[in-house]
Symmetry: C2
Subunit: 590 residues, 2 copies
């Protein structure tokens, strides 16, 4: 007994005359000139089958019964097709059915799986097993498989060892919220937010080159591109410098990109310091497929007559501009007002000034505040020419960077400046070690507290200068999305102790939080570093999808629900009792 | 800056005269003739380095400071070794140190990482990062990597798609105890015991060939070879018969075995029905590297004068024997008594009869109960010859199979009948659909309730004959360990409904438990089947390890604890509050 002698993408002219057995799904069924035609589909393709006049009564009955997306097995002869279809690889032939079996019929579908109809995501997720039959998801899951294959081939070839680290592990109070797993001991496991500690311990263990495609978990309030569980490519190497890591990873990025898209990207892999990225793009993950860079005007404004600008310039703030090319005519006051509202609403800017440059000179509500020399300097610095609009923000550094960075992206999109077929990689390097937390009013490690400090900044660090200290760190950016990042770690116990201290952790607190980890470094920890990629986001960018859910087989909604299985769900009282737990849910919501 | 120009396994005679930079761990350090010698180790090997007389004072000081398992970087010249070491690939050379840097020194170790000292598992697990530096674990993790690589290469080559299924999913009341993951909605996710439902849904989705190396979770009371989280190779295929699956998987088993051991196994892959395995070996996972098969005596005993045997034989029980070859002299009454106690204690047998066969005739306390013809029949049936001992058990089927099956294994071990260098694969097929549950006094599905019934047993099934109904199922056994198993599934909704009914599940109950799953099968589910391998156990057998923990990077103890991270642990009260939970632990244990 066999279900198929050929798959549904393989029959050609050369097969004419063969008796074949085929199985698959009924993609379409139509009657034409009294004959029934079915496009039969499997994973590999589509083949047309025909029920000829002389087919047995029994088979004719089955042909009548079978519905779209039902599953059948047929046996028949390959014939030359009367009207060939050049768009189908199997378009030269059709199969004349002699025998047929209905393997499973299909009920009325909640939606059509052929065609690219725009469906609500809710119904797609509820019937994910049907959604995956559709082009978009079939293509994306195939791409995901190809991505995994490319990753593993590259890593194995380069001598990395695949080591799997535990998922039932310990809750760490730092970082995002952990998912907890109660145990019958009355204590709790936690699901890992990343295998960070384990991969560093594997370096202590002498593995030297490690990788893992790991599931990671964060119980966060979900955003469009976050999921409670996600997939991470985790990498760590011993005896390496930043350059060693980046060079190795550039090879990986090329291999993955080619494996997924079958194309070549713009593989320049420019390495841009964090400080430069912020100054030029107002972002640590700039989309460098287009210009519209931020221009520095602070020095020019320091002495100008426009108090809103000079005040900022003289009190440690920034005045910076972007230029909307060729928009002097198209940007009405309404349009400019919309952009101003955008930076005010989302980034806390106080306003957005503008200067239109025309053949006749500048046109701006604030032009009168500037001397001729100042205006000339503005034009020179921004490079604006007739037809352009200069848009200026003056505020605290963070507001200017965030606001202009976002405005730049909005202009890129609105003015159609981005070639959507281009893919451009970029490294952002040398991130600051510490970041001021407005909430907690203290410096926090921007990456995790095991990130090593650049040698040339060590003195500043030891002197307690938090702001200027940079780390041996690197993020990989693809088309304005951060797809991965990492650092060279601290391997020296003395340096680690000093970092903990600067972070306000006493020896005791550090020991309590990272006790066994600190201990491990006493026993010959090698210098090491690594990085991690967000598989889902990386794939999303490569597949040009808008939602991370469209590249995941069974994602959750942004409320953390699986619409198909209806997880999370209720559990029995005695399941909780065994775990020494009591739910307070009903009481609290009454 | 570079840490190494060569790894520590690669320098040869041809490299003499080269200036090299090496980094690694100090494996041993010794003084000889006033010079310090260090065996420097990295992942790839060991290279001897020497601190010559004329080394700088600074380097001499560092050489003095560095301790065993500390990490250093040195630069020096490759020289021909005075006393060569033919046992080391790098034994022809040594490196004369000129410069040295201590990258990290090492504290006093809790145990030596070189040598094969027998350590307590407790200390090994606590310092797993040091244990992995030792030969055994380094070798086993390398083997695990090679296993994963072989699996993926084979599966990819054969057109299987790697699809990852969620870990935060829904609790199913059937089967082992779930690990629960409370969500902030007041409801609960569960960690999957296997991706069974998802992989079948992927078949409904048209993926056709799926695989995944998946983490699975069971909150069981732990035994020697169980872990709360374990790794499973999960496979499912559409449009396949049992033979299709088994043929494909035999290729996988060969590839994995060769990839892990570098050797060839005994690749006969005999396919033995479950019933035959029970009759011949008293086990559904027989070790077929040796004989000592079970022999049927029930018919002979039915009319004999030994009431203990005839009574069993006439009331539906079994009388069966195994032969301990050449043991008539060595098996004293004490030894035979020990074996009797073994089957009594662990398997509930009432006794173990024995007959010694000697040149002079038989010698047995029960010989007097048998006629000459009966004794001749016993000898003929068992094939026992002078020098052998026949050991006989009479009881209910289960007691006889379990008792004699275990006795057979004990004899195989005690009599050294097993060639430990042999590896023998075996398929056990056609498992019974239902199993009588003594506890619940009802038939339960032996595999899961989606296993398809053999066509020839369908009539019996529909007639309600539970005991004789067999399934399209198969387990892969290697040297007496079940390493994987699976089945062809039910794809037809009518058959599925009937099975649920026979299992005592009403339509409503079935819908409540498997609702969305049953729904999916309405929309054109193809015929499909698959299987799952327990990666950890499979690897354990191939590596000839006694404990599954020795082939896992970071296992838990049999109390579910990670001695290194001290998971599970306590969590903050407010972490529980966010989940609408209250711990009752303290109160209940007071």
């Amino acid at each position: 007994m066999t279900y198929r002698t050929h798959n549904l993408g393989e029959l050609r002219k050369e097969d004419i005359g063969k008796r074949v057995t085929l199985s698959g799904w009924v993609a379409t069924k139509r009657d034409l000139g009294g004959l029934t035609f079915i496009d039969l589909r499997d994973r590999e393709g589509v083949t047309q089958i025909v029920f000829p006049d002389n087919v047995s009564e029994e088979v004719a009955k089955l042909a009548n019964e079978i519905r779209t997306e039902g599953v059948i097995k047929i046996t028949g002869e390959v014939k030359e097709r009367f009207s060939k279809n050049a768009n189908m690889p199997t378009g030269d032939i059709e199969v004349f059915v002699e025998e047929m079996e209905i393997l499973n019929n299909c009920d009325v579908l909640p939606f059509q799986v052929t065609g690219d109809e725009n469906l609500s995501e809710t119904i797609r997720l509820k019937y994910r097993y049907l959604d995956i039959r559709r082009n978009q998801m079939a293509r994306n899951l195939r791409a995901r498989h190809n991505m995994m294959t490319a990753i593993r081939e590259y890593m194995n070839e380069k001598g990395f060892m695949d080591v799997d680290t535990p998922l039932l592990t310990k809750s760490t109070p730092e970082g995002a919220r952990d998912f907890l797993v109660p145990s019958r001991s009355g204590e709790f496991y936690a699901l890992p937010q990343s295998p960070q500690l384990f991969k560093q311990l594997l370096m202590v263990a002498g593995i030297e080159r490690y990788y893992q495609v790991a599931k990671c978990f964060r119980d966060e309030d979900l955003r469009a591109d976050r999921q409670p569980e996600f997939t991470q490519l985790d990498i760590e190497m011993s005896f390496v410098t930043m350059d060693d890591v980046m060079n190795e990873i550039e090879g990986l990025a090329k291999k993955v990109f080619a494996g997924v898209t079958g194309e070549e990207a713009n593989y320049s892999f420019e390495r841009m310091p964090y400080a430069e990225a912020m100054e030029r793009f107002g972002s640590d993950k700039p989309d460098v497929r287009f210009g519209v860079e931020l221009k520095e005007l602070t020095d020019i404004m320091a002495g100008c007559g426009f108090k809103a600008f000079s005040g900022v310039a003289n009190s440690g703030g920034l005045v910076k501009a972007v230029v909307a090319p060729g928009c002097a005519e198209s940007f009405s006051r309404k349009v400019l007002g919309d952009y101003e509202n955008y930076v005010k609403t989302y980034f806390g800017a106080k306003g957005l000034a503008w200067i239109k440059v025309t053949e006749e000179g500048v046109n701006s509500p604030i032009a009168k505040f500037f001397s001729e020399e100042e205006m000339a300097a503005i034009l020179e610095r921004t490079g604006a020419v007739a037809g352009d609009v200069i848009m200026i923000l003056a505020d605290k550094e963070k507001v200017v960077y965030d606001g202009l960075g976002a405005l730049r992206l909005a202009l890129g999109k609105d003015l159609d400046l981005i070639d959507k077929n281009e893919f451009k990689f970029l490294w952002i390097v040398d991130f600051p070690m510490f970041e001021w937390s407005e909430e907690e009013e203290r410096y926090k490690a921007q990456h995790h507290p095991f990130t090593s400090i650049k040698e040339e900044d060590m003195e500043a660090f030891l002197a307690g200068e938090m702001k200027s200290v940079r780390t041996n760190s690197y993020d990989m950016v693809l088309n304005g999305s951060e797809i991965g990042g990492g650092s060279i770690r601290i391997h020296n116990q003395d340096v680690q102790a000093k970092v903990f201290k600067q972070l306000g952790l006493s020896d005791e607190e550090a020991r309590e939080k990272f006790g066994f980890f600190i201990d491990a470094f006493k026993y010959g920890a090698p210098p090491h570093g690594g990085l991690a990629f967000g598989i889902d986001r990386w794939l999303m960018v490569m597949m040009k999808e808008e939602s991370i859910r469209d590249v995941m087989p069974f994602p959750k909604t942004n409320k953390g629900q699986c619409l198909m299985t209806e997880a999370p769900g209720k559990v029995e009282e005695d399941q909780l009792e065994e775990l020494f737990l009591k739910s307070t849910f009903v009481e609290e919501t009454k």
